[in-house]
Every structure is written in structure tokens, then in C-alpha cells.
């Protein structure tokens, strides 16, 4: 499809058109009345419209969290579904304020693509899914396989690196749209489907004709820390997104949930008082309401709630916390202190 090219061309135009538009993103967003958020067009658990047309998913919830931090309303956000190829031009050009679309943090993206990454919202890794009938037990047995992969992702590079490192050959079928990649795999065009393990789980749960026919191989071949991103050049906006993500993690560390948040407002703990805005200062420093963290937790939930609601064991994706558990529980989720 040409949409990637169109987006890139549009980006070129918009980059030129927004000449001198150095206005603070926060002011622009407030004036407009909503946050424009770039999300995945259809990845169950991360960014996906439900049967009623409401956007759901972990990435989507972080868009809502930022909207709550600014407007105290999780619905003051509009979503732009983006393909892997459209996403960078869209954020670079200012078409979206925030890119929350299962995007892996890498050095190139942080530098030459011109992005700033908020804290990681999901620690992922790339894996392989195969049909059980093939009898494959390990990715090391995949020499000569045909692999379906979406274009324009770090997945494509990891795939090449992994097969190179293990002296194996493969035959890539590279397609732009995620739906077409999945269709090609389930039709039997490829032996293997590769993407992030969370994505494989989502596809198996949501797209596979018979989910039990497919098995995700044990090898995880890459580090895929997925994080929301903003463009370079607006530190205040970057801080807001960063400390909104941190707030959800910090809340889980404190044991504050959307249900019990109000009980903590009068807590004696000075850390919690600062965090919830009972003792003022932190919200103002960000240019937000003093109670922004409290609002985020009440309206969207803490990290654990967001995880469980979208991708946890109770959802079709059935993902364990694993690396995404709090640091106190052997995971990697850790918030810098609120002070």
C-alpha cells in the first residue's frame, strides 16, 4: 500500500508547514481540548477497537492517562490508528501529540528519528509462532523456514540477526499491513510468524481460527522495551508523559488502586501526600493540576490494574507479569521517586 509513502510525504509537507510552530504542546493540547494519540490499528491487548468501537488496550490506556493528567477526563483523547510505517512521520510532523503504539526504544529512534521515550510500559521480546503440526520445539530448528513478518519494524532486523548468528537461512515474506501478515501465516504461506511475544499471544487469541493449533516457541530473541514517545524539542510535554507513566507504577508500589485511592488522600506518609498532591508542589512543577496523579489512578488505574485489564491472565492474551512485575517482586517496573 502507498499509505506509508503518503504519510511520509505528508510528513514532509507538515514538517515544512509547521514552520516556527514552537508553541508548547501542552498549550496546543489545552486549546484544542483533547490529546491526539497515535495507536496501533489492531493489536488486541495494546491498541484495538472493541465490538462497540471503543478503543481499548494497554497503549490506549496510557493515552487516556495523559488525557486525565491534563483534563481530568479519560475521554478527552482522539486516536489516530497508525501502521508501523506511518507512526514516525506522524509523530515527527505533529500529526499526533503522543505515540503510544507498542514502539520499541532504540538508540536510532531516540536520536536520528528524533523521539524522546517515556518509561517503558511493557517489557517485551520477539518470539516465533508455528503450527503445532510442524512438530518444531525450538527456534533453532527453523533452518530454511519461510517467515512472515511485518515491514518497518525492529522485528525484521532481529529476525535477520538471529538467523545470521545461528548460521541458518530463512525466506522472508514481508508485508506492510499486520492483518495481511497474519492472513498469510494462517493461510499457510509461511511456516513461522514472528513479532513480539505479546503480539503473538494477541494474534493467537484474537485471529487464529483454532488458537490451540499454534504454539509460541520458548526462545525470546530480542529485547523489546515498548514505551510511549514524544518528539524532540518540548521538554515540558516529555516530562508530563514521563511522570504520568511513572505515576501509574508508583501507585502500584504504594498499593494505591482506582478503588482505594480516596482512602490514601489523608495518608500520614509524606511520600504519599506529595504523590497525591495533598501536599502541593509536584503537579505545579509539571504545569498540571496538583492532584493529577490521583486523577490518573482513579480514572485509569495503577500499572497492575492497567496490565491485568488488557493483557493479564484474566484476558484472552493470558500474559503473566514476568519482567513487567514491580521491581520489588522480581520484575523491572520501577518508578523514579516523586519528590
Amino acid at each position: 500500500m502507498k499509505s506509508g509513502i503518503l504519510a511520509a510525504a505528508a510528513a514532509a509537507v507538515v514538517v515544512t508547514a509547521t514552520a516556527g510552530a514552537g508553541a508548547a504542546t501542552l498549550d496546543t493540547v489545552k486549546q484544542r481540548g483533547f490529546v491526539q494519540c497515535g495507536v496501533n490499528a489492531g493489536l488486541p491487548g495494546f491498541g484495538n477497537p472493541d465490538s462497540a468501537g471503543n478503543w481499548t488496550g494497554l497503549d490506549v490506556d496510557y493515552c487516556r492517562a495523559v488525557a486525565v493528567a491534563i483534563f481530568n477526563d479519560p475521554n478527552k483523547v482522539k486516536f489516530t490508528p497508525l501502521s508501523a510505517q506511518q507512526r514516525f512521520p506522524a509523530i515527527q510532523s505533529g500529526e499526533v501529540d503522543l505515540l503510544s503504539r507498542n514502539t520499541t526504544v532504540t538508540l536510532t529512534r531516540d536520536t536520528s528519528v528524533g523521539l524522546n521515550f517515556a518509561p517503558v510500559t511493557y517489557y517485551d521480546g520477539q518470539g516465533f509462532m508455528v503450527n503445532k503440526k510442524l512438530g518444531v520445539k525450538s527456534a533453532k530448528e527453523l533452518n530454511g523456514a519461510t517467515v512472515c513478518v511485518q515491514s518497518g519494524t525492529t522485528t525484521e532486523l532481529n529476525l535477520a540477526d538471529y538467523f545470521r548468528a545461528n548460521n541458518m537461512s530463512y525466506n522472508p515474506v514481508v508485508i506492510e499491513s499486520n492483518d495481511e501478515v497474519n492472513a498469510a501465516y494462517f493461510a499457510g504461506r509461511c511456516d513461522v510468524l514472528t513479532t513480539d511475544v505479546s503480539g503473538l499471544a494477541g494474534t493467537r487469541a484474537g485471529v487464529a481460527p483454532v488458537p490451540d493449533d499454534h504454539v509460541i516457541l520458548p526462545e525470546v530473541i530480542s529485547k523489546e522495551p515498548l514505551a510511549p514517545a514524544v518528539r524532540h524539542g518540548d521538554d515540558q510535554w516529555f516530562d508530563i508523559v514521563k511522570w504520568t507513566v511513572n505515576a501509574t507504577i508508583q501507585a502500584e508500589e504504594f498499593g494505591i488502586t482506582s478503588k482505594n485511592a480516596d482512602e490514601f488522600v489523608n495518608s500520614k506518609n509524606p511520600d504519599i501526600q506529595r504523590f497525591l498532591g495533598t501536599s502541593p508542589g509536584l503537579g505545579k512543577a509539571l504545569g498540571l493540576d496538583e492532584k493529577y496523579a490521583l486523577n490518573v489512578i482513579k480514572k485509569v488505574g495503577n500499572y497492575g490494574e492497567i496490565f491485568d485489564r488488557n493483557v493479564g491472565p484474566g484476558t484472552p492474551l493470558k500474559l503473566e507479569r514476568g519482567l513487567n512485575a514491580l521491581w520489588t517482586k522480581g520484575g523491572l517496573q520501577y518508578s523514579a521517586p516523586f519528590r
Partner: protein, 399 residues
Amino acid sequence: MATETRTTQGAPAPGGVSFSLSDPTVRAVVYQILVVGAVVLVGWFLISNTLDNLARRSIATGYHFLEREASFGIGESMIDYSPKDSYGRAFLVGVLNTLKVSIIGIILATILGTLVGVARLSSNWLIAKLASTFVEIVRNVPPLLQLFFWYALVSDSLPPVRNALNPLPGVFLSQRGLWVPSLSASPVWATMGIAFAVAVILTIFLNRWAKDRQARTGQIFPTARAALGLLIGLPLIAYVAGGAPTALDMPRLAGFNFVGGMALSPEFFAILTGLTVYTSAFIAEVVRSGIVAVNWGQTEAARALGLPSGPTLRLVILPQALRVIVPPLTSQYLNLTKNSSLALAIGYPDLVSIANTTLNQTGQAIEGVTMIMGTYLTISLSISIFMNWYNKRIALVER
């Protein structure tokens, strides 16, 4: 002219030089300077603004990324390529893949389009109606849908690779494409290539000699049959003289896929068939209109002179029809080439697909898009230049 008229009308400028805006010559120059100035100014504004914005957001610019290692795989390539090669080489692979599908597509679409176009004019009711139904259906369905149709036809209707159809020994047809035996490497193939080249050169000389002889004596030499004999005969002699090797590289199932032999991928099949069929419907109409444009009286006149129907078509009808056919045919060739960028949707690694991956990995969208535009412009202009040259060659020389 205008100035002269003006001077004769009186009120000439002293010294003969006038900068009056009422002078049409001066006005023309002034307007042109203004327009060129405005275009340059807008261009400069856009470019400097873009560079400024890119720099402010510290987005990398320039084409240095072309030398860096690409580190992504490509499904099919006409030259050696591995992820260790540079982005530049990956792009070249894409350009070659685009050229491959465009050139083969143009040839096949021309053949199919001509057949259908002639069939529409057939006096046989069934053939004419079938041809017009084909044209109306094919040219009114968007090409992207047709590509999905051909791609789905392969992946949904053919058996999985392990139950591949095996209609002939060594020929396998499955969802993964078509495998046929290929000839094992042998020095004979090179000799045959040389023999063929010699035959082509001989044919050219034979053709000149035959024309010359016909002009002198009026005798017609059967050039076509002799040329065919040369083109097939000489390589055949080389083949037999080289010991007639028959070793074939047979495809066989090993691991996940067939190995050995030659393969036709479903992606290439889908893009080639889709483009060929879609464009052939337009070419059919172009051919039909070209033939209809030649007055029936021309045929009658040729018959009255005693020309058989073959030479009538070749010497009288076609030269006149081609005048009408070639210009619109050129735009169909250009369309086919540009439509090949739809390959991205079905996974054929054409230049857009590879440039897209590149611009995503490097984040340099503007550079990637300029490279795509530059390449298509070059290909399209080359086709235009060739077709214009051909059009001039076949144009009627009016005396």
C-alpha cells in the same frame, strides 16, 4: 515583430530602448522573471524550512545511511544479497525487482491486450462478447483488489507445501509457489548463448540482403522462415556439439520447503498476473481503437492491388493503426510500472517496499521518498523516451 509595429506607429523610445510595461515584449520578460522568481522563492522557503525544522528536532539528514549495513532480509533478489549488505545494495535489489516485474508485465500485457483487442473486433459473436466482458470487468475493478484476488487464489486454493501438487516429474505446485527443474551448470549454455547471438547478427544481415534483393529484382525471399531456422538451428547445433547434457537440478522437499530447481513465488505471480491482466484491458481498448481508426477503404484498396491479407495487415493497416496506438500505449506502460508499487500490499519486495523498510529503520523519510520519486521518474522518462523514438520511427513519412 511587436516592437517593429510599435515603432512604426510612432512614439519610439529615444535611443531605441524602452522599459514601458505597455510594451508586450518587455511585459513578457518581466512576467517570466516574476514567475521564475516566485517559484525559486517558494522552493527555497520549503527547503530551508524543512532543513531548519529537521535540525531543530535533531532528525538526521543526508544520504550517508546508504552505506550502512541494512541488516534485514529480502525474499527474492536477482543479485546476491544478504543482510550484511548495505542499504544502497538493498535498494538496488528493489529497483531490479521493480524492473523485472515491469518489463515482463509490459511484454505480457501487450501480447494479451493485443489478442483481446483484436478479439473484440472479431466477427464471431461469442469471442467478441467474451472479450468485451473481460475488458469491462477487469478495467473497472481497482488494481489493489485484483492483486489481493490473485494472491488469495494461490494461498487459499492451492495445497500446503507438504501436499504439493506434482503434475509432472520435478514440477511442484503449492501455496509457496511453483517449483520446476532447472538445468545444471554446464559450459554448453555459454556456447549456446554465443551461437544465438551469432544467429541474431546473421538474421539482421539476411534481412538487409533480402530487402535489397527484392528492391532490385522484385523476388521475395522467405526471410521469416530462414531467420527462425537460424535462431533455433544454430543454438541447437551448439547444444548437440557440446554433448547434449541432460542433467537437471530437480526440486526436492527438504525441511520446510523445496530446495533446488527454479521457483516462482506467489508474490511475484500475483503482482505480475495482476498488473498484466489489469493493464491488458486498457491496451485492448487502445489496440481496438487503433484498428478501427484506419479507414476500411485502405483494406479495400490494398486488396484491389492484389495484396494478400497478411501483407495488407503488416504493410497497410498496422503502420497507420500504430500512429493512433503508440501514444496511449506509452501511458499504459507508465501506469503498469507505477502500479507495481502496490506490490507492498502482497509482500513482493519491490523498490517501494524496500525503501519503506529503509526509511523506517533509519527514520529518514524525506530522503527515502526522494529516492523513490527519483527512481520512478527515471524509469518513466526512459520508457517515454523509448516510445517517442519508436513513435517517430513508425510515423508515416508524408511526401
